[in-house]
Symmetry: C2
Subunit: 210 residues, 2 copies
DNA sequence: TGGCCACCTGACTAGCTGGTTAATAATAAA
DNA sequence: TTTATTATTAACCAGCTAGTCAGGTGGCCA
């Protein structure tokens, strides 16, 4: 066994335990909130002794930070982007589809993010102030160009982004409500595509792109 | 002083204290979540001794229930309805405007509701299952009639309701994020009307009503 | 005057909280 | 094998939690 393999193996125990803990923690934080999720409840869900949790993460806040970071990374990766060179119709379609798919696939990620924002974004102020604000400005500029060139109707680009965000994430954050109203136990494959079709249809028409 | 006056006066002390407590409690529940909000923190915010809080509400869960009830009542009152006899354009316009105004005026109400749903709607299952499901069915039927009579394009009525809900409540639930991205300290009067105009514009066009 | 009742609250408690420690086991390196 | 590092966990603790309780206060009516 080479030195590299050993390091890898050692790292694997750490990595595996951490993933196990973070998965359990994410669920607990979503179900109970930050204060409601106890280190003990996370330990129980991860099937590890409490002290083991605190061996890998110095304290509860560190666990939460790690969960939040992990979640944002995953979300940003999965969403892709709004591409300039494809024209507004394809760009918006692709963006809506990616966001809806993420919402149905990883509702917990969206939920934990939503709760953080609702409660005042104490742990995410910097994220919104730097990364997110920059992203919105760039994309708004792009939409404005499409508007100026007559490729889409004159709608406020920033509010358009908010609309797409809210409409897509709604299916993750409010899944309980939606399932209850639709009298369903779970979502199915078809639902995802139906939601994508609906949102693309109405938003693209709203932007004068159909 | 008549007996009626005494009852009224006695009731007033109760009512006043309860309102004071519920107002403080709502803020604490939004900021800290159910478990994070302690009876002590509610007492501090209401500027009353903790034991006084528990004199008016038997326990913490009762406070939460009262907050939730109070909130839902207020929300339902303020939103009005989707009226059948006005035609789709006016009906949707009025509904969007009312929801946006409520979101800007009482963001805490929307937030506490959102947190409850995100965490699994443990205290609201019945509300969604009976009242809300019924409401959605009625309104969906109405939209379907407008679609069938060619007054609006063929979009899924239920998902249209979800879209309006999400887009309007977004300004309450995610106000922190929106303010940060827009680089603002607070919303102003103009913002409300601008959001209403934007959402009406894009959604009505999306429904083929412009 | 004295009894009634709504209101108020300091002091208390049992149980849970996040977090520490110290002793042990497993694994890798020499 | 020996040694060093990493991983594991029972036992413990100080502080906070929701909730109780007993002893008040003050207003009103007979």
């Amino acid at each position: 066994m080479t030195s590299a393999n050993q390091i890898k193996k050692t790292g694997n125990i750490r990595a595996k335990s951490k993933v196990k803990i973070l998965t359990a923690a994410r669920t607990e934080f979503v179900l109970q909130g930050y204060r409601g999720a106890t280190v003990q409840s996370i330990a129980d869900r991860a099937e590890l002794p409490k002290a083991n949790i605190l061996y890998y993460f110095k304290n509860k806040e560190n666990i939460y930070h790690a969960v939040l970071e992990h979640t944002l990374e995953m979300w940003d990766e999965g969403i892709g982007d709004i591409e300039a060179n494809e024209g507004p119709k394809v760009a918006i379609e692709k963006f809506i589809a990616a966001k809806v798919r993420m919402s149905f696939k990883h509702p917990e990620a969206s939920k934990i993010y939503a709760m953080e924002i609702i409660q005042g974004a104490q742990h995410l102020k910097d994220y919104a102030r730097t990364y997110q604000r920059q992203w919105v400005r760039e994309k708004a500029k792009l939409f404005q160009q499409w508007i100026d060139s007559g490729e889409m109707v004159n709608v406020d680009p920033v509010h358009l982004i908010f609309l797409i965000w809210s409409a897509t994430q709604h299916y993750a954050d409010f899944e309980t409500q939606i399932l209850t109203i639709m009298n369903r136990a779970d979502f199915e494959e078809d639902d995802v595509e139906q939601v994508i079709a609906f949102l693309c249809d109405i938003i693209l028409r709203g932007c004068g792109l159909i």
